[in-house]
């Protein structure tokens, strides 16, 4: 597994209002199931240091793990020597929710922008047919079909694209403000 860039952010205690966004982590790894544990460890640490809640750290880690599992199982049919690329960027959500701005300074001035992680996972397997991406109904008690649920439930944006003989899954998770109790 090759790690080409990693930026830690103040141990998750305080986020620097002047810190730059952009690339946080880039991994190139073969499609070995034995590496999933190492990737989960990296994602856990990264999401913790980024300031996500423990629940959201687990959600992002689970989504990435399930996405990689799907690639190994379905795109590469269990082959352990195929390439997977994982890129994690810090991003901002503009007040206009359709406009996502990467690589901008963090705004902590009370504006409505939200900080988050953009995770791009690319493989060189065959194109995924829409019918292959179906989720089973949760009411059914049966084995299988849960991975996509975990990805959808855990992330704010899930997008799949096919380009240049690669599959690209884009996952985005924003840091959500803690829910406030309404006591009055």
């Amino acid at each position: 597994m090759k790690i080409t860039h990693l930026e830690r952010r103040n141990g998750g205690k305080q986020r620097n209002s002047r810190s730059k966004g952009g690339l946080l982590l880039r991994l190139e790894l073969p499609s070995k199931s034995g590496l999933l544990c190492a990737v989960r460890g990296a994602i856990e640490r990264l999401t913790e240091s980024f300031g996500f809640s423990p629940e959201d750290c687990r959600a992002v880690t689970r989504a990435v793990d399930e996405a990689l599992t799907n690639i190994i199982r379905h795109a590469y049919c269990g082959r352990a020597d195929r390439p997977i690329e994982l890129i994690i960027n810090s991003i901002h959500r503009h007040p206009n929710p359709k406009r996502v701005i990467p690589k901008r300074p963090v705004q902590r001035d009370g504006s409505n922008t939200a900080e988050g992680l953009e995770i791009l996972i690319c493989d060189r397997g065959p194109a995924i047919k829409p019918e292959q991406m179906c989720m089973r109904a949760l009411e059914e008690v049966k084995a299988g079909g849960l991975g996509l649920h975990f990805i959808q439930q855990g992330m704010d944006i899930v997008e799949y694209t096919r380009a240049k003989e690669s599959n690209r899954l884009r996952l985005v998770k924003y840091i959500h403000a803690p829910k406030q109790d309404v006591t009055s």
Binding site: G34, C37, E66, A143, G144, G145, H149, F150
Partner: protein, 110 residues
């Protein structure tokens, strides 16, 4: 991941340790089904207290073992769910499907 089994009277306890993911789910599934289908143990307790992470394939293996236990008329019990494992079963809407206890003594007492 490590898997071991203990027998107490008519109960077999399957102790799991580590993460249950794509790489080791087949071993876990094999252990569950061996006790339920092959050995026809009347009560199988799966101890997840040392399992930090379980993925969808691990959940699928638990569901398969539960179905097999229903087919043969035995009981399958989960104990020691961590926050992470409980969360995954909750997301899968499977928490109420399984018989779950916090501690081994509780599972053996019922």
């Amino acid at each position: 991941m490590e898997i071991s089994t203990r027998k107490i009277d008519k109960t077999v306890i399957v102790d799991l340790s580590g993460d249950i993911d794509l790489g080791n789910t087949p071993a876990a599934r094999k252990a569950f089904l061996r006790e339920v289908k092959e050995n026809r143990v009347p009560r199988v307790v799966i101890n997840l207290s040392k399992v930090r992470y379980i993925d969808s394939s691990g959940v699928a293996s638990l569901v398969e073992a539960l179905k097999a236990s229903r087919d043969v008329g035995s009981r399958l019990i989960l104990i020691g769910l961590s926050t992470s494992v409980r969360e995954v079963l909750q997301l899968s809407r499977l928490l109420k499907i399984f018989e779950i206890y916090d501690k081994e003594e509780e599972a053996l007492a019922v």
